[in-house]
């Protein structure tokens, strides 16, 4: 009985988050009217591991594509650029927030509503993945 309970506890501990993942909190999507084919996604990322983690790509069943972009301003002119791989160094954090780094989420495949949870998968170097939920906000 004790052995079985222990095994169950170990399995439960192993399931939710692998020890090699990023700590991702406050993940949200800024909603827009249905006529607009893009949304911005934001989140707080922390690498509490002892090695660097590189995000190679992201995807979701509800979007045609997701890319990491950065808004930047030079001489009062705002532009965006695509960021390829994004490495979060061991022990460091990065916030994707309005006006800076963000997810460019292309072509939502259904109309989104505030409070809706969207599942997004992050693909890391080393063939690891992490699945998160992003909340839609008005």
């Amino acid at each position: 009985m004790i052995k079985q309970t222990l095994l169950l506890v170990l399995l439960i501990c192993a399931l939710p988050v692998s020890a090699e993942n990023l700590q991702i909190t406050d993940a949200w999507i800024k909603n827009l009217p249905a006529v607009v084919p893009v949304r911005a996604g934001y989140m707080k990322i922390s690498n509490t591991q002892s090695q660097d983690i590189t995000i190679l790509s992201l995807d979701s069943k509800l979007f045609e594509g997701i890319h990491i972009h950065q808004t930047f301003e030079v001489d009062g002119v705002t532009s965006m650029r695509a960021i390829g791989d994004l490495t979060i160094r061991a022990g460091e954090s990065l916030e994707l927030a309005p006006g800076g780094f963000h997810l460019m989420m292309m072509s939502p495949l259904e109309e989104l509503s505030p409070g809706q949870k969207v599942v997004v998968t992050l693909h890391y170097q080393g063939q690891k993945t992490q699945t998160i939920e992003m909340v839609v906000r008005k």
Partner: protein, 206 residues
């Protein structure tokens, strides 16, 4: 009798002093927290003709009579444009004087006329506030206005994707006075409470 004379002169001087100080106060230049007020240097704009979100003409005369807060962007911009319009919507909520609120109109001008039709603009601006106005025009009609306002914009032609291109654009917010003269600017980062205070200061003075 002499005392009465003296008293009358003193009272007159005091009143005169108050009036003088009020006049001086009112002609002091306005200093903004989050932007720049041009005062006497407000600039007359060239005649412009845009199309609004109802497919109606939007020209200088239609904007006259109110203070216009103008922001340039495009609807396929997921980050800075929604954030700016959200800030403007919050600013309108934070202004407590209803007369000041009624004196302001917010106009979103798209620098991406190819994708931003009237129908798209209407959904977009009304997502943030039912009274916001959306407008655009073919670049030949838009550029004289953006040039006069010092607003830059350019389509990113580097990508191969012809449907999903990006447009760089100035992030400044433009203030036009009720005579549709270029009266001031609010620079990024935009703060709703600070802009509300600045606009209230300007509008209450005029």
């Amino acid at each position: 009798m002499k005392n009465l004379h003296f008293f009358a002169i003193a009272l007159f001087a005091l009143c005169g002093g108050f009036v003088a100080s009020w006049l001086v106060y009112d002609s002091r230049p306005i200093t903004l927290e989050t932007g720049q007020w041009f005062g006497d240097q407000a600039m007359v704009l060239p005649e412009f003709q845009l199309i609004d979100h109802n497919n109606q003409n939007l020209d200088n005369s239609r904007l006259s009579g109110k203070w216009s807060l103008v922001f340039f962007g495009y609807t396929n911009c997921p980050d800075i444009c929604p954030t700016s319009l959200q800030t403007l919507a919050e600013m309108m909520k934070v202004i407590d004087d209803p007369d000041v609120r009624k004196a302001i109109q917010v106009i979103f001008i798209s620098v991406d006329p190819d994708r931003d039709s009237a129908e798209v603009l209407k959904s977009y601006v009304h997502y943030f506030n039912d009274d916001f106005i959306g407008a655009t025009a073919p670049l030949a009609a838009l550029n004289p206005l953006t040039k006069a306002l010092g607003v830059r914009h350019s389509r990113d032609k580097s990508g191969e994707d012809q449907a999903n291109y990006e447009v760089s654009h100035s992030s400044v917010m433009i203030l036009l006075d009720p005579a549709v003269k270029f009266a001031g600017v609010f620079s990024a980062p935009h703060s709703a409470p600070a802009m509300a205070r600045d606009l209230s200061k300007i509008i209450e003075r005029h």
